[in-house]
Amino acid sequence: MNSTILYSILLLTSIGILSAVVLYFIAKKFKVVEDPRIDEIEKVLPGANCGACGYPGCRNFAEICIKADDLSSFYCAVGGNECMAAVAKILGKEAVAKDPLMAVVRCGGAYAHRKKSTVYDGVRMCAVSHNFYIGETDCAYGCLGLGDCVTACPFGAISMDPSTGLPVISEEKCVACGACVTACPRLIIELRKKGPKGRRVFVSCMNKDKGAAARKICAAACIACGQCVKACPFDAIKVENFLAYIDFNKCKLCRKCVDVCPTGAILEVNFPARTEPKDDTAQPAKTEA
């Protein structure tokens, strides 16, 4: 064999072996000792790293759970109750089952109800439009339709409906991580209880203008007439700042408020169609698609 080749092979091999030995000792010396349970828990977590739990990443959440005394204040929205039960099993602690939540868009100002008064020609971001302009309509509280929520959702659960100009949130994909809630500059999206069979009732309006002014801006606005408060047998509705709000913990889904609302601002979702036809043709649709 040519001596050049021989020496090259020997030299490179010895460099390789020397490096391997050095690396081995360095790895040993600087090894970070970790609780093996962190890896176990991370395996059962969904790995979305979405931050909904309030911690930076699933691995960090695993570490926090190990250190916690009880798991009642920790919840992985993406994994849900099943996942928390699995985590609890590994740690030998109790997991508290929580009602699943769902992001709800509280604006009914579709194109048909809320007239456009200007054409917005700027950067198509809700944050920009909200901070510097009222939007394309006269409602200072309603959806701007530029889709910051759509961009923020890490699970692709939101899309803009081109016929209404409002976001639509998918029942299956939404895990209530809360990204859209922070993204919306007008705080229109709220995390509410998903409800049995996905049924929920909520006031689909954020308008805090006085009744007459609100009605002029949008046909589906809440005018704070107070009929819903009177109709609710469970004292779940409050009117504050000319806007009604339904507490989802008290609401029993009886839908009496939906019947009495004159503008159709209160929506019912995922209920079966009513048998008696509503003859009030002046009212906008009350059920969400």
């Binding site: 008064s117 200007t118 700027g122």
Partner: protein, 335 residues
């Protein structure tokens, strides 16, 4: 809702200047017209073929990639592919086979521009990447220039000869003195006007300088890069020449021969791949100048401009990071 009657709202400013990307690109093409004229006069049909093939291939490459691979908007109308095609052609000999020209265009657009994200995202000058790719892949064809002013109606099979720089390099390698080589080299007048061999766009200094004046007038480029690059070459080559005039050619020869003026005025000043502040531009130009002379004098290749520019393109992000514009009021704030 009749949208046409509604007022438009947007944030200020509500008035805009006259610059547009297309106007800038067309301005560059217009500035290249004198060099184009010189090339046709000196090289004839060969030059026309190379230019047309390069431009067509570049535009087609961009169209095909944007439409079929990226499946996004097609932006060939902004003129940047045309400019890349023209500049690539200007860096090639006029007798290059058309298959190689197409390969060069495809590499320039596909590899150097589109793979980084299209216009504005490429770190390296696409035309130069295409040219260097061809130089390294087909060294014989790329260093085989047709004799100037003869056989202009022939596209290939033209009589070939070496460029002034190549003659110089060969001669010095063989131990001849620069002064003895001078009779073989073209006169300064020929170098200035363009009666010399070389790549299509680099031969006529006069034509290129006319283009430079046009670009300055239209405010498409600023003077910083060309002046610092040519200035550095003059100084560096000048020092070498003063130390040993037998071995090193004089600075005027260096500036007028090869791709220095084409590189300084059109290639190094490429907006996307050059620094963003005047201070950065001068550092950029100085770097290119030093590298050009080093490659020409101490390297194997007779011409170093393309490599010098590409190497300095790699430093541009670093230059941008350290050469920030002067912030108004900082000197008062910190006493």
């Amino acid at each position: 809702m009749d949208k046409s009657k509604l007022l438009t709202i947007s944030l200020s400013p509500h008035a805009f200047g006259e610059f547009s990307v297309r106007k800038i690109m067309l301005g560059v093409v217009a500035a290249l017209l004198p060099a184009f004229g010189a090339a046709i006069y000196v090289f004839g049909l060969g030059a026309i073929q190379v230019i047309l093939v390069a431009v067509a291939a570049a535009v087609f490459a961009e169209y095909a990639i944007q439409k079929f691979i990226l499946k996004g908007p097609v932006t060939i109308t902004d003129g940047s592919a045309i400019v890349t095609g023209v500049l690539l052609a200007f860096n090639l000999p006029s007798n290059l086979p058309w298959e190689m020209v197409i390969i060069g265009s495809f590499v320039a657009i596909g590899v150097a521009k589109m793979s980084f994200g299209g216009l504005g995202n490429n770190p390296f000058n696409p035309a130069l990447v295409g040219r260097v790719f061809l130089l390294i892949s087909f060294p014989a064809a790329m260093t085989n220039w047709p004799k100037p002013l003869v056989n202009r109606l022939a596209v290939t099979d033209a009589l070939t000869g070496a460029t002034p720089l190549a003659i110089l390099k060969e001669g010095i390698k063989n131990g001849e003195k620069v002064l003895d080589l001078m009779p073989q080299l073209p006169s300064y007048a020929d170098l200035f006007l363009g009666n010399i061999g070389g790549c299509i766009g680099e031969i006529s200094a006069l034509a290129l300088i006319l283009g430079f004046i046009y670009l300055l007038y239209k405010k498409i480029i600023t003077w910083h890069i060309p002046v610092s690059m040519v200035g550095t070459i003059s100084v560096f080559a000048g020092i070498l020449w003063m130390v040993n005039p037998a071995r090193y050619a004089d600075p005027l020869f260096h500036i007028l021969s090869g791709g220095v003026l084409l590189g300084a005025i059109f290639m190094a000043t490429d907006l996307v791949t050059s620094p963003m502040t005047p201070k950065g531009m001068i550092i950029f130009g100085v770097g290119i100048g030093i590298l050009t002379v080093v490659i020409r004098v101490f390297g194997v290749y007779p011409e170093g401009v393309s490599f010098a520019i590409l190497i300095m393109n790699a430093f541009v992000p670093l230059i941008n990071k350290f050469c920030k514009p002067v912030r108004f009021g900082e000197s008062t704030a910190h006493g």
